[in-house]
């Protein structure tokens, strides 16, 4: 009997699969998105980068918590809250995602539920960078309830949920384990070692949390499909004590293994190798910007060309050099930067107000 490698396809060999002709389309098996699929996403900033691409390819990106467009640029924020299906911002660890869903379902109520640096500033510890923090506890509670409702709504509306695993390192509450998206004291809040602790999640924890998140999400929407990815973006900093490069490789390795374990254990969960496309040995030198942290535009294009190649769409991303960059550095994508259309309601209101102002001058 022939040994098993005799039946391995060409892409199973490094020489033919990589060295002598790398085709990223061969990395994906099966179809990621079907025509008409509605897509929601969460995770690190890489999960936000996909949005303009899939929108262009004709898929609906689910948004359940956008500020009314009439507020235009004023409403735009710089902490990614408007980039995701609901305004949860970056979710770096599966534990944070799981807890978000538990909070939305009323199954978890963190003890550190808000920070109040001054009397009329109420900060959400789980969305510390919100551009417009609440002015009162009453307003905070209304906005938080609206936010958590929008999370559930997004899960209900979506057919596919893309979740990008970002980090294993996190800061959490010593009291109840609530995971903060950023170390208290960095973006907002005050760091207190008696209240806050560092934690570096293990493979077992990440696997269990990711699976638990998917299970819980399917309680909300039983037919929801998942695509897991690992963010290729290295850590900004590590609190684990060693070199940030070692910490990055550890972190990404854990996430990659956990993703694989979940894909193997749960139905309708697919892994998409964005991480491999950007960081693998085949990746061109220009995959990162000069800081060797931010993926380059061409790397993101390669990822999305591969992604869309596995989707049921007639849209094809133009070749790299001919394409208008869809993403530039940290600037928002085109779907977000689109000019606010002239609103007939406000245009007319302005006419009436200005005409009546003139009329005020004519009144006796």
């Amino acid at each position: 009997m022939e040994h098993p490698y005799k039946s391995v396809p060409a892409k199973g060999f490094w020489k033919r699969g990589v060295s002598e002709g790398f085709d990223p389309c061969e990395l994906v098996e099966g179809r990621l998105l079907a025509r008409g699929d509605k897509v929601a996403s969460a995770g690190s900033c890489f999960a936000a980068n996909i949005v303009p691409y899939i929108a262009r390819a004709g898929f609906e990106y689910v948004r359940t918590e956008a500020l009314p467009s009439l507020f235009g640029e004023v409403g735009a924020d710089n902490f990614s809250y408007s980039k995701f299906s609901a305004a949860y911002g970056n979710i770096y660890t599966p534990r944070q995602a799981l807890q978000l869903l538990q909070r939305a379902l009323g199954e978890f109520a963190p003890q550190e539920d808000w920070w109040q640096p001054t009397e009329d500033v109420i900060v959400d510890p789980f969305r510390p960078g919100l551009k417009f923090p609440a002015s009162s506890i009453e307003e905070f509670q209304v906005l938080r309830a609206q936010h958590l409702g929008a999370v559930l709504k997004a899960l209900r509306q979506a057919d596919v949920f893309v979740f990008t695993l970002g980090l294993t390192e996190a800061w959490r509450s010593r009291a109840d384990g609530a995971v903060f998206p950023a170390c208290p004291g960095t973006i907002a809040g005050v760091y207190d070692p008696k209240l806050h602790e560092f934690h570096n999640f293990s493979v077992a924890e990440v696997t269990a949390d990711t699976a638990a998140f998917i299970d819980l999400a399917r309680r909300v929407n039983p037919v929801l499909r998942f695509i897991l990815t690992v963010s290729p973006v290295p850590l900004v900093a590590t609190a684990a004590g060693g070199h940030v490069l070692n910490a990055t490789v550890y972190s990404k390795s854990v996430l990659r293994v956990a993703a694989e374990e979940v894909v193997r254990s749960l139905p309708s969960v697919t892994y998409f190798p964005a991480y491999e496309i950007v960081t693998g040995p085949q990746a061109p030198e220009d995959s990162f910007q000069a800081d060797r942290r931010e993926p380059s535009q061409s790397a993101i294009d390669r990822v999305m060309r591969t992604f869309l190649g596995a989707c049921d769409t007639d849209y094809r991303l133009p070749p790299a050099d001919a394409s208008q960059p869809l993403l530039g550095g940290t600037a928002p994508g085109p779907a977000l930067a689109a000019p606010v259309p002239v609103n007939p309601l406000t245009a007319m209101g302005a006419y009436i107000a200005s005409a009546l102002c003139e009329e005020a001058a004519q009144n006796d």
Partner: protein, 480 residues
């Protein structure tokens, strides 16, 4: 400021003798139309000589529509002169050289057509100069409604004091129930206009009568002999008309003198009452030196942006409004701070203006609250929705007026409350005082009561509202 140079005219001979063009100072002094004592007292100045006083009028006062005598009101005159190119500075000379002869009335309190006939003036004579020369003689009256002989006959104390009888009547006589003539029934008019006898009337019934008969605001005929103290300078956008600024103003950008609640001051007018230009605000800052600047700043941003129900619907919690935490079903709740950020650009020029006014030596700066919305928009339904003009306008905007929904009054009220807070914050940061709209001018829910609204416009308040706000603005610590 450079005085107006006049090369010809009836003083040309005098000018030639001095080997130079006749300057405006000389013209003023020789015109017979300048009352130096009145000018100094009325405008709160003090001058060493009559010439100094005339120079001030020629070079500065005339520019700012200051009155050269009790009976010539440049703002009033300009509106009637029928020459839109005429400036406040040129008004007095225009009156002397052309207007009087053609019968243009110099102010509500001097009827030159009647005077010319009654006293059979020669065609070339100036009626007002004639009156100013003879007014203390007891035989010449400025108006048919005031009979100087009658007044002196019935008030021997006035005659004995040798004071100007008409000024006496204007200032104090009416309040003592002294009748101006047999033709003008003071008691009847006081009851008619104010519902009280003249002894308790808030203003002179004769002046009120003139204001109505001549169709000018009461402020334009108010007693020019008001109490001393720093002048006020009132400036602002459309809401300042309710505060007393002359409505129907059709003149150049400049200052118009007026009196409100016994305080003298000036209104900064934009050319033809149009939208305020940057030059208008520059003039406000420049003119604020030594004056109590009173500002009415915008106040219709909530109408501009949100008169029509926004899509998607939004709502927010407003603690300053009763029921402000009631949220509309299905509306996106937005943080209150977002609205403040949204409105912020409309307050930035105010901050700059406050800084400039301070730098230019304003005696004080007061920012006045703007009127709240009304609790219903019935006037919109009456005036806007059925109007062919607005229907066409709406079509141009891509809006169907038949179906367009108006924003609920409670949301407009909440937005107004945000604007008032921002007005107050901007004022205080700029070193100004803020006078909020008191509860007495609002209904129990906080809206503008119908009695303070206009019949023709649902975005502004009426004079009764403005008069109370102005009173609060003029009184130090006048907040209710």
């Amino acid at each position: 400021m450079v005085g107006m140079q006049v090369a010809e005219g009836k003083n040309a001979k005098a000018a030639k003798a001095k080997k130079g063009p006749v300057d405006m100072v000389e013209w003023v002094l020789e015109s017979g139309l300048f009352d130096a004592a009145f000018y100094a007292a009325h405008h709160g100045y003090s001058f060493g000589t009559e010439e100094e006083s005339a120079r001030h009028y020629a070079e500065e006062g005339s520019n700012f529509s200051c009155k050269p005598n009790l009976f010539f009101d440049p703002a009033y005159y300009l509106q009637r002169a029928g020459d839109v190119s005429l400036t406040a500075q040129q008004a007095l000379r225009h009156f002397a050289e052309r207007g009087d002869a053609t019968g243009v009335r110099p102010s509500p309190v001097f009827d030159n057509r009647w005077y010319r006939q009654a006293y059979r003036l020669a065609p070339g004579a100036n009626s007002l100069a004639h009156y100013l020369r003879h007014r203390r003689g007891g035989r010449h009256s400025p108006l048919p409604e005031f009979d100087v002989a009658y007044y002196l006959e019935h008030n021997p104390d006035v005659k004995a004091a040798g004071i100007d009888p008409f000024e006496h009547f204007l200032l104090t006589g009416y309040r003592e129930g002294r009748k101006p003539s047999t033709d003008f029934d003071l008691d009847y008019h006081s009851q008619l206009y104010f519902g009280v006898p003249p002894t308790r009337a808030p203003a002179n019934p004769l002046l009120e009568h003139l204001s109505r008969r001549l169709d000018v605001p009461a402020a334009a005929v108010a007693s020019p002999m008001a109490a001393p103290g720093p002048e006020f300078l009132l400036a602002g956008d459309s809401n300042y008309f309710a505060l007393g600024a002359p409505v129907k103003y059709q003149g150049a950008r400049g200052l118009i003198a007026g009196t409100v609640h016994g305080r003298r001051g000036h209104y900064v007018m934009e050319e033809n009452s149009a939208d305020r230009s940057p030059a208008y605000w520059d003039l406000v800052a420049e003119s604020s030196r030594g004056r109590d600047l009173i500002l009415s700043w915008r106040g219709n941003q909530h109408i501009t942006w949100f008169l029509f129900e926004p899509q998607p619907l939004f709502d927010f919690i407003e603690p300053a409004v009763r029921n402000g935490a009631a949220l509309r079903d299905g509306a996106v709740v937005v943080p209150r701070r977002l609205l403040k950020a949204f409105f912020q650009p409309s307050f930035e020029p105010l901050a700059v203006l406050l800084g400039n006014a301070r730098q230019n030596g304003a005696e004080s700066v007061t920012v006045v609250g703007t009127p709240p919305p009304r609790s219903d928009l019935a006037l919109f339904e009456k005036l806007i929705r059925p109007s062919p003009f607005w229907r066409q306008m709406a079509q141009g905007c891509g809006l169907d007026l038949d179906t367009a929904q108006l924003t609920r009054p409670l949301l407009l009220l909440k937005l107004w409350a945000v604007l008032q807070e921002m007005l107050a914050e901007t004022a205080v940061r700029g070193g100004a005082r803020f006078v909020p709209v008191p509860d007495s001018l609002r209904d129990p829910d906080g809206f503008l009561p119908g009695m303070y609204g206009l019949d023709t416009d649902f975005t502004h308040a009426n004079e009764a509202f403005g008069s109370r706000m102005m009173q609060l603005a003029l009184e130090p610590g006048g907040e209710e």
